[in-house]
Amino acid sequence: MKYTLSVLVENHPGVLSKVSGLFSRRAFNIDSLAVGVTEDPTISRMTIVADGDEYIIEQLEKQLNKVIPVIKVRTYTEGDYISRELSLIKVNSPTNKRLDIMKIAELMDAKIVDVSVNTMTLQFADTLERFETLCDLLKPYGIREIVRTGTVAIEKDSVLSRK
C-alpha cells in the first residue's frame, strides 16, 4: 500500500542526504520525495510517498524521527489530505494532431507551455490518478519525455475542523 508522509526538517545543508540515505540503508522503498522550504524559512517540508505495509511505515516513521534535524513526522490518513504532483509532458504533435492534443489538454485542465513544429509541452498539476489518465490519452501520439516533481501534500483543514 502507498503511504504519504509529511516530514518537517531543519533547513540545513546535508539534511536531505541524511534523510534520503535512511531509505537505502534501511531498505525502504519510496516512490517519491519532494522537498521545499515552508512558511518558516528555517524549516523545510519533505513529502514522501512510500510503499509498504503497516510495519514498514511504522519503522520508517520511527527511523525518520531518530534523524536529529527531523522535527516532526506525520503519516497522512487517506481522505484527510490533498496531494498534487506537477509534471511536464512533452508529446509529439505534428500539425494534423495539434488540435486533438489541445482538446485533451483543455479536457484535462493541462496547460500548454511550449509548442514547436513537432512537439507540445504540457504542464499538469493534479493527483496521481489524473496524471495517469492524461498519459493514457497522450500515449497514442507518442510521449517523448516526462518530468515529474513527486507528490506534495497538505492536510485538509475542512476535515480536521470536523474531527
Partner: protein, 539 residues
C-alpha cells in the same frame, strides 16, 4: 581574538574531557598544537581505528563521552570501523576529524575524504563545521547528543581554515536547543500500569536484559526488581554484568552462542520483559517463535527499537533507570515457584563440564578460574571470535564489567578498548582476552601500552587458526579450512618483549593460572600467551 583550534580545546575543557585518543596529521595540527601543554592528556595510538576503540573502552568504563581525534582523509577513514562499532553498541563518542581547507572542499585535494558522508549511516549525528563561530554550539550539541537518549557516536569534521580562523571571544552555550531532539526519559504511567497488570497475570515471566540497562546505570534497579519479584534474568551479550553470574536469579546469556538454559527459558516463558535489549539475530534467532506463546513488554529509550525485531504487547519508551524505578514503586508480584524450580533444573541439566586436552590450556575452564583470580570489580574485555564466546559464557562476573564488540563483532577491539578502560579506571584490573587472529589485528598497540605504561593484562588464546570460522567450516563446509589457518605464527612472547612488555607462555591450565596470579600482582602490562588446541570449540 581566539582561534577555532583554541575554541575546540576550550570546548573539551568545558565538557571535562581529561583524556583523548588520537593520531595527528597536517589538517588537525592547529588543534593538537593548542592541546599541547593543557591538562588534557592526548594518547597517541598506532592506528586511528584503535583511537575510536580506546575511546569506546574509556566511555564504557566511566559512563561518559569518549573522545578520539584523527586527521582528514586516511586518518578519518581509519576511524570508520571504530565509529561503526560504537554505533552498533550504543557507545557515546565524540569523534573529531580534521578536514582540508573549506575553500577547496570537493576538489579531491591531498588527503580529502567526505567523512561525514561516509559515516552517515552509523553515526548518531555528524557536523561539517564551515564557520568558526559555530564551533561552541556544535561541540555543546555533539556532547549532548552523544550522551543522552540512546547514546552513540557523533562526528565533528573541522576544516583546517576553520581551526585557524579567529573570532572575537569564546562563549560556551549553557544549554542546547535542538527542536527535533528531545528524548523521553520517563515511561508513560498508563503503559507502566499495563505492564504491571501483565506481570501479575503471568506464570512464567523472564527478564531479558541488554546493554541499555548498563548504559542507563540501571543495574542496581534491575537487580532490585528481580529480587523483589523473583523474576529470573537472562541477558544478551551486551547485558553481561547486569547480574552477578552466580546470582541464583541469573540464568545466563542467551543466543546462538549462549547458554542453552537461557534459550530454553525464553522459549518457554509466557511473558518476556525486554529491558534495553534490541533482540538482535544473534540473541534471539526466531523472535516469532517466542511471541507465539509469550506477551512482550519492551522497555527502551529508543522508540525505533520497539517492535523492530520482536512483536511487542506493551511498549514503554523511557530511560531504564526511571522506568524500573516507576515499576518498582508499584509492583506486587511473586514468581511462581514451579517456574523458578524448572529453570534451576534446566541450569543443572544443560551445564556441561569442559573437557581438558593434554599439553594445552583449556580456555573455558581457565576463563572460569580467572574470574576468581581478578578483583571483583575487574573489567574484562573480550575480543571477537571463539575467545568472545569462551569469555561470555565462562567468565563469572561479580561487580565488574564485561566489554566486547557485541553488535559489529569487530576483531581487534579488545586491546585498544582495554587501554581506554584502564585509563578511565586505573585502579581496576583490566584484562583483554583475544585470539591469535584478533590479537594480530591490533598488536601494534603494544607500542601505545609501552609508551603510556598502561597496566593491562592481555591474554592471547593461541590456537593457530581463525577459530570461529574454522568451526563454521567444520559444520557447513566439510572441514575444508579455506584461509583460516594462521601458520608460522610469530612468537608473541618475544614480540611483547621487543616492545619491552613482559610476557610468558602457558601450556596447561595450572601454568596459566599461576602466571595469571603473578601478572596481576605487578603494576606493569603483561601478555599471557595460552596454547590452545585448535580443536577446542566455542560451545
Amino acid at each position: 581574538m581566539i582561534s577555532g583550534a583554541e575554541i575546540m580545546v576550550k570546548c573539551l575543557q568545558e565538557e571535562n574531557v581529561s583524556v583523548l585518543f588520537g593520531y595527528p596529521g597536517a589538517v588537525i595540527c592547529p588543534f593538537f598544537d593548542h592541546l599541547y601543554n593543557t591538562e588534557i592528556k592526548a594518547v597517541l595510538v598506532r592506528q586511528e581505528q584503535n583511537a575510536a576503540h580506546c575511546a569506546s573502552g574509556y566511555a564504557r568504563a566511566l559512563s561518559k563521552v569518549g573522545v578520539c581525534v584523527a586527521t582528514s582523509g586516511p586518518g578519518a577513514l581509519n576511524l570508520i570501523t571504530g565509529i561503526a562499532t560504537a554505533y552498533m553498541d550504543s557507545i557515546p563518542l565524540v569523534c573529531i576529524t580534521g578536514q582540508v581547507r573549506s575553500d577547496v572542499l570537493g576538489r579531491d585535494v591531498f588527503q580529502e575524504a567526505d567523512i561525514t558522508g561516509a559515516c552517515e549511516s552509523f553515526v548518531k549525528h555528524s557536523y561539517l563545521v564551515k564557520d568558526t563561530a559555530d564551533l561552541p554550539r556544535v561541540f555543546k550539541e555533539a556532547f549532548h547528543i552523544a550522551s543522552t537518549g540512546r547514546p552513540g557516536p557523533v562526528l565533528i569534521d573541522v576544516p583546517v581554515d576553520v581551526q585557524t580562523a579567529e573570532i572575537e571571544e569564546f562563549v560556551y552555550p549553557d544549554k542546547v536547543n535542538i527542536i527535533g531532539y528531545k528524548p523521553s526519559f520517563k515511561g508513560h504511567p498508563m503503559q507502566i500500569k499495563r505492564a504491571l497488570d501483565m506481570i501479575s497475570e503471568s506464570k512464567r515471566p523472564v527478564i531479558c536484559a541488554g546493554g541499555g540497562v548498563l548504559s542507563s546505570g540501571a543495574k542496581p534497579r534491575l537487580r532490585e526488581f528481580s529480587e523483589k519479584t523473583g523474576i529470573p534474568v537472562v541477558s544478551t551479550m551486551m547485558g553481561i554484568g547486569v547480574m552477578a553470574s552466580d546470582d541464583p536469579l541469573y540464568v545466563g546469556m542467551l543466543g546462538s552462542h549462549g547458554r542453552k538454559a537461557a534459550n530454553v527459558t525464553i522459549h518457554n516463558a509466557d511473558l518476556v520483559i525486554l529491558c534495553g535489549a534490541r533482540v538482535g539475530d544473534r540473541a534471539v534467532a526466531s523472535p516469532d517463535q517466542v511471541v507465539e506463546h509469550a506477551n512482550v513488554i519492551h522497555i527502551d529509550i529508543d522508540p525505533a527499537e520497539i517492535g523492530k525485531n520482536m512483536k511487542t504487547t506493551v511498549p514503554i519508551v523511557g530511560d531504564m533507570k526511571n522506568v524500573l524505578g516507576q515499576m518498582l514503586r508499584d509492583v506486587d508480584y511473586t514468581t511462581p515457584e514451579e517456574w523458578t524450580a524448572q529453570i534451576d533444573q534446566w541450569k543443572k541439566e544443560f551445564y556441561k563440564e569442559p573437557e581438558k586436552t593434554e599439553g594445552f590450556v583449556e580456555p573455558k575452564s581457565f576463563i572460569s578460574a580467572l574470574s576468581g583470580i581478578v578483583k571483583p570489580k575487574a573489567i574484562m574485555v573480550a575480543d571477537v571470535g571463539q575467545n568472545q564466546i569462551w569469555c561470555a559464557n565462562n567468565y563469572r562476573i561479580k561487580d565488574g564489567r564485561f566489554f566486547t564488540s557485541g553488535g559489529m563483532g569487530t576483531m581487534g577491539y579488545s586491546v585498544p578498548a582495554a587501554i581506554g578502560a584502564k585509563m578511565a579506571r586505573p585502579r581496576r584490573d583490566v584484562i583483554a582476552v583475544c585470539g591469535d587472529g584478533s590479537f594480530q589485528m591490533s598488536m601494534n598497540e603494544l607500542a601505545t601500552i609501552a609508551q603510556e605504561n598502561v597496566n593491562i593484562k592481555i591474554i592471547v588464546m593461541r590456537n593457530t587458526v581463525l577459530g570461529m570460522v574454522h568451526e563454521l567450516q567444520d559444520m557447513h563446509y566439510g572441514s575444508r579450512y579455506a584461509v583460516t589457518e594462521l601458520s608460522d605464527i610469530p612468537d608473541f612472547v618475544k614480540l611483547a618483549q621487543a616492545y619491552g612488555i613482559d610476557s610468558a607462555m602457558a601450556k596447561s591450565n595450572e601454568e596459566a593460572e599461576k602466571i595469571a596470579r603473578e601478572m596481576l600482582k605487578s603494576d606493569k602490562p603483561f601478555v599471557l600467551v595460552c596454547d590452545v588446541s585448535p580443536s577446542t570449540s566455542s560451545k
